[in-house]
Amino acid sequence: MNAIVEGLDALLDPTAALCLLAGLLVGTLVGALPGITGTMAVALASGFTLTLDPVSGLAVLLAIYVGANFGDRIPSILVNTPGTPASIATTFDGYPLAKQGKAGLALVISTLATTGGILVSMVVFVLAAQPIARFALEFGPAEMFSLVVFGLTVMVSVSSRSLLKGLLAGVAGLAIATIGRDPITGDKRFVFGIDDLNSGLPFIAVIIGLFGVAELFDQLLTYRPGNAKPISSLGRWWPKRTEYKQLARPFAVSSAIGTVVGALPAAGGDIAGLVGWDRAKRMSRKPEKFGEGSLEGLTAADTASGATLGGSLTTTMALGIPGDSVMAVMLGSMVIWGLQPGPSLFADSPDLIVTIAAIMIIATLLSLVVGLVRMRGMVRLLDLPPHYLWTGVLLFCTIGTYATTNSTYTVWVMLASGVVGLIMKRTGFPAGPVVLGLLLGPLAEANLRRALIIDGPSILVTQPVSAALLALAAIGLVTPLLARARKTRRTRSANAMDEPGRVRS
């Protein structure tokens, strides 16, 4: 009971409340601007929040996370351009609805669905996170190492088309994490006489470079002035009672889908939105309307995408494995504040968990109000010329990175990471596993070495939880390979059916 009171009390601090509002505003704005993702915004903001106390800093970052999940729906519906990847599926029915003169209705339904999705998933966080964390508290070195391996393999399998590239990216992240002092003996590794490298590469700078600067560089590289104009006629805003009833089923199914997908390490709103939309289409009485402006399709996509937030938060806070890329960045900030997300956080700072849940719920409800009251003003944002956006983002990335150490060395690391991130993006290497490897590398190494020294290699497979996690990791890696092989076989047989002459010859 004390933890609940203390957790809520922390938010009564005016600084924390102001930070929450500022984060919400920033999140909604960046979500509404295509090209700036939630991950990029949180990465950027993390540089500025390190000087704040953890509650205020978390208020900024979590509010950006929530706000971006509302703001990104606006360009998806009005210009057919997802504000962030999490709203890709919103475009399927949102834009057709806008073209039919129902943009206002689409925006309101999208806001309600996103709110509902996040709140349902937050109930799951409140109920499930602590039992999961209590269970994980019993983990020894073998289980902790296997957990990191599991998290990494899931991220690899969902974030890359090529398993080999994803794995190489993960190995690269783990290798970069070895720069600096050895976690057990303190010996120097790969520092080459440079004092700054003694404490390893500054991971906030690497994260801002890989996610923020690389994305910006890619936009510069591929920019084509478009002629898409936002839909100006918004039509009616509020759904009818019959429409609400029609949306209940896709909402319920997509809430569950989104929460489960969000709980999987690295799987985020983009995947959940697509899965939720597809599932709702299969269950609908009018599947032919999906993609043509279906309110059910829009509800399903946005509910599932929104519901990933609570699921993702559960995995991150209970196990210390990031549920999505935003959480990976947040994990970095929390480590700098001296907080280690994972089972021990629930034992050491139960009030902080309450604060986190409260921030998420308040930010969601405020976003709902902002969304319903002043959606029209947001539309103007879409006219912002890119030269203001790009130069502003680049300067803020630079300042945000600099503010972490007050040294231009970190800015150089950020710039180099940006160039490396661009090369990775253009060559199909995912950045997610690199960041995860960098963040969890010391944890994996220290626990594996401890497990091997104390109990020998057999402990990894004789401990049931460790063995199960390693088996799941193996399944996670093999499943995409099998699915791809099956797809290739199907394509071949379909081609053979189309061209029977070739089969006979």
Partner: protein, 168 residues
């Protein structure tokens, strides 16, 4: 601050987007780089100096293990890159004609800004950098090139330097 993008910049590339094309030579180049990098990791790991030799699971062991795993993965990637069709790149936009020079100029300008910053101070380096960057990416007009950089610099400088005590 309402000026529009430079008209020449708008006219150079077609508005419609196109996906990047798959490339076998790019894949082979990536695989070779990965092979070289992981090989270097193994060699560097072997060269780590430890204060107390244990001949077992010491500070060299983990990076060496990662290097070996990476080497095996890179070798497999090289084989895949040579014998199989290159990976599709449909999720990537193709670079535009002016994209590469723009990118090189942006990286160079940012590097120059970071190098100049400790020498002349943020308050001088930032507006010059912003003005040059804005011009580079298509911004024109005195308000865009003079007022915008000055306002943004002030908006950054005042809260960070004055309130948060970040020594810019």
């Amino acid at each position: 601050m309402g000026t529009t993008a430079h008209p020449q910049a708008v006219a150079q590339d077609p508005p419609e987007s196109s996906a990047a094309r798959p490339s076998r030579s790019l894949e082979i180049c990536c695989a070779a780089t990965a092979l070289a990098a992981t090989g270097a990791l193994v060699l560097l790991a072997k060269g780590i100096e430890v204060r107390r030799e244990t001949d077992g699971i010491d500070p060299r062991w983990w990076p060496e293990l990662l290097g070996m795993i990476g080497l095996a993965l890179a070798a497999a990637y090289l084989v895949v890159a040579v014998v199989r069709p290159p990976f599709p790149r449909t999720d990537l936009e193709a670079a535009t004609r002016r994209g590469w020079p723009l990118l090189v100029a942006t990286v160079s300008l940012t590097a120059a800004f970071v190098a100049l910053w400790p020498l002349v101070g943020f308050a001088v380096a930032a507006p010059v950098f912003l003005s040059a960057m804005t011009y580079l990416v298509g911004g024109r007009g005195w308000r865009t090139l003079l007022i915008y950089p000055a306002v943004v610099t002030a908006l950054v400088y005042l809260p960070f330097h004055t309130l948060l005590k970040v020594p810019l």
